[in-house]
Symmetry: C2
Subunit: 195 residues, 2 copies
């Protein structure tokens, strides 16, 4: 097969997949999760039911794939927020702010039921791992620059940050999100010199 043709097929597959995920998201937003069916998703996506089944075994699989797409988009946004020319501490601040904002908006968009359903599974663990490593590296770099405390390992500090910032899902204003980021960053500050 000429390369061009393969690319066309790949693009077509990606388009069908995306249409299915978008259809699912729209259906969930309108009617909730209960009784989400493959027929509804196919109809909304504008593809045949048989076609949809070639891509996904069931509605749960569409949901998981959608969540994976969301998470990866969030991660890309987070890592892109870090302008490589900036010092590590500035990139860290940007990444943590972005993470907190994602927590804030996600809590608003999909509440308890969906969150409980989605926030487990291999794809989430992988994304969490990728995020943690990204933050850990920024912290290690900033600590080496002397801009952060270096008395606690970067991995532990990354765990602290990411847990603290999940509180952004519980606050009720955008300003409160920014205050939370400032408080969390204060925890990372150079420790006071011993008395």
């Amino acid at each position: 097969m000429p390369k061009l043709w393969t690319e066309t097929i790949d693009a077509h597959r990606a388009a069908v997949r995306d249409a299915a995920l978008n259809a699912m998201a729209a259906l969930v937003a309108e009617r909730g999760l209960v009784s989400l069916t493959m027929s509804q998703i196919a109809e909304r996506a504008g593809v045949g039911r048989a076609t949809l089944y070639k891509y996904f075994p069931d509605a749960q699989a569409v949901l998981t794939a959608w969540h994976e797409r969301q998470i990866n988009a969030h991660l890309d946004r987070l890592t892109a927020a870090a302008e490589p020319a900036e010092p590590a501490v500035v990139r860290l601040r940007g990444a943590l702010r972005t993470f907190a904002e994602i927590q804030y908006y996600s809590a608003r968009h999909h509440g308890g039921e969906l969150a409980a359903l989605l926030h487990s599974g291999e794809h989430v663990d992988l994304a969490r791992q990728r995020l943690r490593e990204f933050v850990e590296n920024l912290i290690a770099e900033a600590a080496q620059d002397g801009d952060l405390r270096d008395d606690v390992a970067a991995g532990e500090l990354a765990g602290y940050c990411l847990h603290a910032l999940t509180a952004a899902g519980t606050v009720d204003s955008h300003d409160a999100v920014h205050r939370l980021v400032a408080v969390t960053l204060a925890g990372l500050g150079t420790p006071a010199p011993p008395p």
Copy 2:
């Protein structure tokens, strides 16, 4: 009925209830959650199956009651850790350390399956509310004493602390728990004066 008799009955009821909860905890520890039955719980608790049904409608209810008992014991331990004569900031430090230790040991004792099953429900929401208020009041008092930052509302700082300290469930040593508490407290510190 004379008062003494009522007290005897109440004590008996509490004893049966406790025996059932202890039996459930022992069974889950030995065999896991799957196929936990009322008959097994009754047998292990040393009461009749019919008696057990007078106390709990099903095994899930025993599990929830057990979790409620655990949570209340934790909360009592946490609030008791605060010696009333100490300044608020010292009591806060003690309470946060205790909370972090509970997170650390709970993550070790009941892992994913049990946690996902238990960490929702009205009794958990109530306990979380009680805990948050307790920490919020200590923070407000310490801020008034001038021992903590006062540029962020006590409620927001309480949310920050409790989320940050859940990271104690992911670390792998007791020392790391103490470092996490220190980092979290640093976030609460008086903010640097403006430049």
